[in-house]
């Protein structure tokens, strides 16, 4: 509670971006291999809140995120954004993966402007907005490069700009900095927090890095596997901006120890195959097929 109050002093109040996850179960696989990846999860996320999903590999974090993005349909329960049921993918719910999904055939600028193009915004306007966003993420001067020529950190910056240009109400991130080196990761975390402070939106951020969760989140949802469920909610009792004092203080260590204990629990960590719930076969996700 504390944390959320101190946040609103820093950033503009937002009224959109409320997420209701209402008794959601999701089954994955087909035939005999079908299993419950997510069981009866209920969470309410306030507009503008920064929520981290923390859990061991295979506990269904990506599955929940995929459902929020609209790429997976719950077998039971309902997902709502600002009261309206989530039907399918939409730019109002931006999605960022661990490895960038920039289009290699478009320049950095055209990648960022892609969402506007899909909405029919004119070329001059598109380019102007893309340049603004590239400046925001610190990539001025790289607009004519192809994504393949950028480093991993820069690619994720472009990815974030490409999603945020659509002014999403919700930002969904699946271990977005998981593949970056420690220093780059820290810079990206700070960049994301800075962006989020200026243009408040709801963020659901998947990670298995406890430090990252404690540094970024207002609230941490700890999950466990088979079936995937939320086993604990931790409200991070730290103000914003997060200082070195918080990162080195006794309270941080205390929380970290608690999270570690939760994740170490043998019931929580079951070794599982690492697959992607966002199905490669178009037919499954595509009713037109």
């Amino acid at each position: 509670m504390n944390a959320i109050l101190s946040l609103s002093e820093l950033a503009p109040e937002v009224s959109t971006g409320r997420l209701d996850i209402d008794r959601v179960s999701i089954e994955l696989g087909s035939g005999a291999d079908r299993f419950t990846a997510l069981a009866d999860v209920s969470v309410n996320i306030a507009p503008g809140e920064f929520v981290c999903l923390l859990g061991p590999s295979g506990c269904g974090k990506s599955t929940l995120l995929g459902a929020l993005a609209g790429h997976l349909t719950p077998s039971r329960g309902q997902l709502r954004l600002d009261g309206a049921p989530i039907g399918g993918p939409d730019p109002e719910r931006g999605l960022v993966f661990q490895h960038h999904t920039l289009f290699p055939w478009l320049s950095v600028r055209d990648n960022v402007a892609y969402g506007l193009r899909m909405r029919g915004v004119g070329r001059a306007e598109r380019h102007a907005q893309a340049m603004t966003w590239l400046k925001e993420v610190g990539l001025e001067g790289f607009e004519h490069h192809y994504p393949g020529a950028l480093s991993g950190g820069m690619q994720q910056r472009v990815e974030i700009a490409r999603v945020l240009i659509n002014q999403p109400r919700v930002l969904l991130m699946d271990e977005p900095f998981g593949a970056l080196d420690a220093l780059t990761r820290l810079k990206m975390q700070e960049l994301l927090l800075a962006l989020w402070t200026r243009r408040r939106m709801t963020v659901v951020f998947v990670t298995h890095d406890i430090d990252e969760a404690l540094f970024m989140a207002d609230r941490i949802l700890v999950m466990s596997a088979r079936p995937g469920r939320v086993i604990e909610e931790i409200v991070v009792p730290a103000g914003r901006p997060r200082t070195a004092e918080w990162l080195t203080g006794a309270s941080f260590i205390e929380h970290k120890r608690h999270c570690l204990a939760l994740l170490r629990d043998p019931a929580v960590t079951v070794p599982l195959a690492r697959l992607s719930p966002i199905n490669p076969a178009a037919d499954a996700a595509d009713p037109a097929a």
């Binding site: 719910r93 999605l95 490895h99 490409r162 992607s276 966002i278 037919d283 097929a289």
Partner: protein, 261 residues
Amino acid sequence: MSTPALPTRALPLLSLIVCVLLWHVASSRHMNLGLVTFQNVPQPLEVVHAAWDLFQSPKLQNHLGASLGRVASGFLVAAALGVGLGLAIGRFRWVRETLMPPLEVARPIPAVAWIPLSILMFPSSEGSMIFITFVGALFPILLNTIHGVHGVDPRLIASARSLGTRRWAIFARVILPAAAPSVLTGLSIGMGTCWFCLVTAEMISGQYGIGYYTWESYTVQNYANIIVGMLLIGFLGMGSSVLLHRAGQALMPWYRPGGRP
């Protein structure tokens, strides 16, 4: 270590010169190697003369025009159908399950084996020859396109949908460009088989065309012309490959095979 530092441009040229020299030596001495003999093989100079004659003659235009026209029509139809079908088969299971069985049966049949049937089926020999080139080019293009579609990262499609791409726009915006390198490979292989099939078809039922010219030269025992025809086919095939390669580079500036992705 001790290889002399030849300028890179000189090496291909040198290799060509050596080939011609070997040919010259073998044919001028009428070498007989037992298994193979050069006794009836015309010499390079005779071939140059024959080529000169052909280039002076108005027939060249007819031959070239006929062959190029057939290759172009067969190849373009194969490219349109192969890429279109390949996209649909690669993306939709029901299309795959409907179309793949007959295609799998037709695929191992070499284009040459289609010649008798196509002569029966097409009233004009022109139609049957274009059909043969089409059959030759279709499968490499089709299979490489399917392969390319299967290789598209599903996360790329998920991202595109999350960014507001509509279902059908996904084809043009994501699948086709992502599969483009593979499609280009299919097109180059298809172009090669196109020439191969065309020449075969022309030898059998042509009136004009490089393949016909080559075969006719043999029947009238004008041996130098055979080699002129063969070289023409070689240069035309090479030229069309270069053209495709250039087009690919122009259309896919982001794609550098062997370089960074």
